[in-house]
Point group: C2
Chain length 367, copies 2
């Protein structure tokens, strides 16, 4: 199986994309067919966030086919696949049922994105299973949060793409980690060395994610050696994403994400998503729930207050000193200033990034 | 006073530099005259780390003058200043005595770097005092760790340079923060907007620091909008730095900094440097002291074990499961592979970064 090892080979694997490659993260519950297909129709790669629950996946894929079929510019199929991806959380998603869905030719996605296995053998089982049922048409993307994980995943599953997630990312990631500034170059060096020393392991492509919210950060990721980028928080503000209005308003309003967001497991405790393997935490806006947790409030009391806030509905639960609802967001949240269509976000980011690359080219010519 | 607001104006303010600008951080106890002058002689800007204690500053400046005077290529003085900088920790360094030293014409540095004030009025007092005693020859650099701090510092002290420190940095920084990927662009936007709306506040230049260990990261910082970069951890491995051999060996040996380092206040507790204002922590290699602290060991017991490790001397205190000595380092520590002269580091990084910029220029031409 050919593995995209350079930027140009990404275009071979995903023929509809324009460079620099922008992908939208498979955010659980939020990244639906509308968001994923709009990003792909704008010549990025959109991912549906199946997460740990595939009960609505067939329906989302049906919606995705409908949305893609209306496009005059994009073919419904490239390389016999739908031009979108699907993200799975391996600690919860059921492999057998997933393979049944993916094995139907009309469902075959261009890529799957695997994250958070309970054991590294799960990475192997999922990769092999999906490659088998899709006759290797579906590319395997694996999200990693450290150099160690990247080496393990590459040895175990020979991914087509490694998504290197820095700790600035919103939502779930390693409880402790580095930003992409150091993580991306060190990971690329280590994985490249591994593959050079083991010719049976093809060199994956590298996608950077975590803290990327604008064209400057996209260009910076390319400087770090990544061949493409993935954004989550920026797409929270897309019209198409499935997100409560209060949550979306909070994303627009909040700035200075290093001060206003924090990575913690408390939000999982409140929401009852407690099946994550150890070593993960979710970055969200620092709110009353977190402060009470820090101050020693018992989880059951904190959870009761959280559930009261959910039950009271309305948007006041998301913002301000007394906010209790979970606003997962990365440190780049302060660069998200308005609600736009995912198409405008994707096209706009690509234009911004190209502008930055041209500025750097001018700068280089003076040095 | 002219303020460098573009990359080319950095060359006006610091005429000996070559681009892209590489500076070495004023690491307390480590960044001495030898390190600072070697970086400047290699056409970067080296900073002496006076920190909170200026008792040896006059002696270090005397050494710096001697080292600079031996250079056939660099003048001892540019714009009537020594072509180096000095870093101060405002919570501890005495202003009056510092001004006495800096007011001597032979001591006037090209730049001072101010960090960690107890109150923001300290930033104003130090900036005004130094500008007055050096007849505005010494440029004011202020290190900030958030958008909020950047706006406050700019309003308060009109710095010539803002050093924007991401949380990947080694040693002290904000206990909670963002990496440069999001922090640098958001800070530049916010400060630029502030200065545009207040013509009396000159736009500072922006230097990125935190997690930058190689030429890829330097180029990425320029993509983010910074006009120059600062590296600390990489210069720990310089022959010239004042660092214990065991510490330096650990820096070379350790990889995967997101997993192996952590930002904490425990290292300050152990070392007795407890005068830092609240809200700061030091990133260092995760060791037995940290694990014992996390497991609930009383500070006095932990400190006793630390002091025993110091007293026992030798290099075994720095590495391995039982290491107790503090190895401050950023997440970029895994990209530091060998001990070199600060000259080779500086020249090598500049060459690497230019290579990355040329690669990006080629890439841009294909898009």
């Amino acid at each position: 199986m050919a593995s995209p090892s350079s930027t140009s080979s990404l275009k071979t694997a995903y023929p509809w994309i324009k460079l620099p490659l922008i992908t939208s993260a498979p955010m659980r519950l939020i990244s639906n067919a509308a968001l994923a297909t709009t990003v792909s129709l704008a010549h990025g790669i959109g991912f549906i966030g199946a997460g740990s629950d595939i009960s609505s996946l067939s329906e989302e894929l049906s919606k995705a086919r409908d949305l893609l079929s209306t496009s005059p510019t994009l073919q419904t199929k490239y390389n016999d696949t739908l031009p979108i991806g699907i993200g799975f959380l391996l600690w919860g998603a059921p492999l057998t049922e997933t393979l049944t869905i993916l094995s139907k030719p009309e469902n075959t996605p261009a890529a799957v994105w695997l994250f958070a296995p309970q054991t590294s053998s799960q990475l192997k089982e999922w990769s092999q299973g999906i490659r088998t049922v899709t006759s290797q048409k579906t590319k395997i993307w694996i999200q990693v949060t450290s150099v160690h994980e990247a080496l393990e995943a590459t040895k175990t599953a020979s991914p087509d793409v490694l998504v290197i997630q820095g700790t600035d990312a919103g939502g779930h990631g390693a409880a402790q980690g580095a930003g992409i500034t150091s993580l991306v170059p060190e990971t690329i060096d280590a994985v490249t060395s591994l593959c050079n020393n083991n010719p049976s392991i093809p060199l994956p492509a590298f996608i950077a994610t975590g803290g990327i919210s604008d064209g400057r950060a996209i260009a910076s990721a390319l400087a770090l050696g990544a061949q493409g980028t993935c954004l989550g928080t920026r797409f929270l503000a897309a019209h198409e994403s499935a997100i409560a209005p209060g949550y979306r308003n909070a994303v627009i309003a909040i700035s200075d994400g290093g001060r206003t967001t924090i990575r913690s497991s408390v939000y999982d405790t409140l929401r009852g998503t407690t099946s994550w393997p150890s070593g993960y935490g979710g970055r969200g806006v620092l709110n009353a729930s977190f402060r009470d947790h820090q101050a020693g409030m018992a989880d059951e009391d904190n959870k009761r207050l959280y559930e009261e806030a959910v039950a009271s509905g309305g948007d006041e639960g998301w913002e301000g000193e007394r906010a209790r609802l979970t606003t997962y967001a990365g440190t780049g949240v302060g660069l998200v200033k308005r609600v736009e269509s995912a198409r405008d976000i994707t096209v706009g980011l690509r234009g911004e990034a190209k502008g930055v690359l041209r500025r750097l080219a001018d700068l280089a010519s003076t040095m």
